[in-house]
Symmetry: C2
DNA sequence: TTGAAAGCGCTAACAA
DNA sequence: TTGTTAGCGCTTTCAA
C-alpha cells in the first residue's frame, strides 16, 4: 500500500504560494498586491487585473492563519458536545454550521462524551485556536454546569442544553408548548380521555411536557385523571407495556394517547393494533420528536410534535454572530414546536 | 435580553495574554519564556518555575495561530461530508475526532449536502486554514468524484465513500464479508432455504452483500434460488411487502431471511409474526447495520451484521496521521464486519 | 498610484 | 544560562 516510487512521493516541500510570490510575479510591491486582492484602496485597474490574474494562475489562497494573527479574530468557532452527537444534536449542529459557513466562519467539532477532563482539554485547545465563539450542546435538555471559560468575553451559547448560569444564553425547544399543541389537537378532534405515556421524570423535558399536557386538558375543559398519566422509559417496549396496563383492566379506556416520544408512540400503536383497537378511530395517537424513522414506519404513520431542531440550530448561529459582533445576550430562550399531522390522529387522509 | 448596563458589557479589549506578557511579568526575555514553557533548551529550574507560575497566574495559553504560522503545520484537519451527516457517518466522525484529539489535532466539520458549489467553497475555506489533512465522507458507500484539490500533497482519505481515483485511499466496510458472516451463521443453524431481501441495486453495497450471500450459500452447499432474492428499498414497509410476497403463494417457503438492513429485517419480522410464523423457530432472521434502535426494538431482537463504524473512524484517523507524517497510502481498504447474535436467529437465550 | 515598513505572537538560531 | 533578533504571511499606515 505504501508507494516507494520516489517520483510519486508527494512533494512535502510544495508550500502554498504566498502573497509575496504573487507580488514578485506581478511585479508589484506586497502592499499593492494585498490591496488588489482585497479590493481595497485606490489602484489602477490594469495593476489590479494583473495581480488577480497572477494569483489565479499560481493558485494563490490567502493564509487565514496569518490573517487571523493580524486581526484579532479567527473566523472560527468551536462546538462542544458533552454527550456524543446524536439524533437530536445533529440537525442542530448541521444547521448551525450551514448558517456560519455563509459568513465564512468554520466550525471545530469536539466531542467530550460526559468526560469533564476531555471537555477541559478540548476547551483549552479551542482557546489556543483563538475561537471567536463557542457552542455547547448535549443530548439531554437538562441543566449542566457552566463551562469553565478562562477567556473572559468569549461568546458562549448553550443549545439543547441549559447552563445553570443565568448570565449564559440557552436555546431550547418549548417542550411545554409542544405538548400543549398535541393535546389541543386531540381535544379539537373531540377526544375526551387523553392519556399521557412518557419517559423518565428526571428529564426536565418530561416534566415540562407533562405540564403542557395538563394545561391542554384544562384549556379543553377536561378533568385531569392521574391514572391516565404514565412515566417510564424512552422505549417502544415501555409504550407497549403502558398500553397493556391502560387497556388491560376494566374501567374507562382512553380515547387518545399523547406520548413523550415517537418510540413510545410506536410501541403504543403496535400494542393497540395487536389488541384489536383501531388507530385512530378508537384511540388517536400523537408522538413527540417527529423522527421520521419511527413516525413514518409506524402503522398508521404518527402525528408528532416537531421540535424544529434545524431552526434551533440556525437561530443559535444567528445569535452567536450577534454576540461575536458585541451584543450581550443571556437567559433561557425556548423556541416553538410545531405539529406534523399524520394518520395516527386523523385517519386516512385520502378517505 | 440585551444588557445595556455598561459595567456588564463584556470587555472586548481583554485580549488573551501573550508570551510577551509572561516574559515581562516574570522578568525574563521572550526567548527565555518560550524555552521555559516549551520545556526545551537549558534553563535554570528557578527561572523555569517562575515563568510557569506567572503563565498559570495570568492564564496564558499559547496562540496556536502564531505557532502554526511559524511551523508549516496547523494541527488541524477538515472533514467534509457530501451528504448530510447521519446515522452512518456519525460514529465514524466521532471516533475519528477522538483519535485525532489524542494527538492535539482539531477537526473542522463541513457539510456540503450534495451541493458541489458548497463543497468547493468549504474546500477553499479549509485550504485557507491550511489544514494538514482532509477526510471525505458520504452517506452512501458509492463512488464519488475525486475531490478537486488544488493543494497538491494534501493527505486525503475517503471514508464510507469511495473515490473514483485509484491513487486515493478509501476506507470502507467489507459488505461482502459481512453478508457472508450472516449466511454462514444461518447455514450453521441448519437453515436450508435462505432468502435475501435487500435495498436498491444501484447501491454498490447491495450488490456486494448479494455476492456475499451467494458465496455463503455456495460455501454451505446450498443451491441459490433466484426466487428467494428480492431487491427493493431500505424500508420496513418493503420488508413487510417482500415477506407477504415470499410467503403468500404456494410453493416452498424460506426458513431464514438475510435482510439488507435492519429496517427491512424489522418489517420482515413484524410481517412474519402477524402471519403466525414463529421467529426464529420457523424462520430465522439476520439484519444488517446493527442499529440498536431497530435491532433492539424488534420482537424478537435482531441478530445483525455490525459494520464496526467506530473502528473504521478510528482507523481513518490512524491512517490520516500516517499520511500527515509523510507516508503514501492509496487503494481501497475494506474492514471486516462482525455479527451480533440476538434472538431473531437463535431463539431465547435464556431457554 | 505605488512602495516601504511595522507588527500580530511565536520559535529558533545565534550572540552574549 | 539568558538575551536578541529574524521571520512565518498578512494588512495597514505612512511616505514617495
Amino acid at each position: 500500500m505504501t508507494d516507494a516510487d520516489p517520483t510519486m512521493k508527494r512533494n512535502l516541500s510544495a508550500k502554498p504560494p504566498t502573497i509575496h510570490d504573487v507580488a514578485r510575479l506581478a511585479e508589484v510591491s506586497i502592499g499593492t498586491a494585498s490591496k488588489a486582492l482585497n479590493a481595497s484602496g485606490r489602484l489602477s485597474d490594469e495593476t489590479r487585473e494583473r495581480v488577480k490574474r497572477v494569483a489565479a494562475e499560481i493558485g494563490y489562497r490567502a493564509n487565514d492563519l496569518a490573517h487571523s494573527l493580524r486581526r484579532a479574530n479567527s473566523r472560527t468557532i468551536g462546538i462542544i458536545s458533552n454527550d456524543s452527537f446524536g439524533r437530536f444534536t445533529f440537525p442542530i449542529v448541521e444547521a448551525l454550521e450551514e448558517r456560519l459557513a455563509d459568513e465564512g466562519i468554520a466550525v471545530f467539532m469536539c466531542n467530550a462524551t460526559d468526560d469533564p477532563e476531555r471537555e477541559r482539554q478540548h476547551l483549552d485547545q479551542l482557546l489556543g485556536k483563538r475561537i471567536d465563539g463557542l457552542v455547547v450542546t448535549a443530548r439531554r435538555a437538562d441543566k449542566r454546569p457552566t463551562i469553565g471559560i478562562s477567556a473572559a468575553g468569549l461568546p458562549v451559547i448553550y443549545v439543547f442544553s441549559q447552563a445553570d448560569d443565568p448570565d449564559a444564553l440557552s436555546l431550547l425547544p418549548d417542550d411545554e408548548g409542544g405538548a400543549l399543541l398535541a393535546v389541543e389537537h386531540l381535544a379539537a378532534l373531540g377526544r375526551k380521555r387523553i392519556a399521557h405515556i412518557t419517559g423518565p421524570e428526571h428529564f426536565e423535558a418530561v416534566r415540562l411536557r407533562r405540564r403542557g399536557y395538563e394545561k391542554g386538558l384544562a384549556a379543553a375543559g377536561l378533568a385531569p385523571n392521574p391514572s391516565l398519566y404514565r412515566a417510564g422509559v424512552w422505549s417502544e417496549a415501555w409504550g407497549r407495556e403502558a398500553v397493556a396496563d391502560l387497556f388491560g383492566n376494566a374501567g374507562e379506556k382512553p380515547d387518545a394517547i399523547f406520548c413523550g416520544n415517537d418510540q413510545i408512540a410506536r410501541g403504543a400503536s403496535d400494542a393497540l393494533r395487536e389488541r384489536g383497537v383501531a388507530v385512530p378511530e378508537d384511540v388517536a395517537i400523537v408522538g413527540f420528536d417527529n423522527w421520521d424513522v419511527m413516525a413514518l414506519a409506524a402503522r398508521p404513520p404518527l402525528t408528532s410534535v416537531d421540535m424544529n431542531l434545524k431552526e434551533l440550530g440556525r437561530e443559535a448561529g444567528e445569535s452567536l454572530l450577534e454576540m461575536i459582533a458585541g451584543k450581550r445576550l443571556s437567559g433561557v430562550r425556548r423556541r416553538p414546536c410545531s405539529l406534523t399531522v399524520r394518520e395516527s390522529s386523523v385517519g386516512h387522509k385520502d378517505e
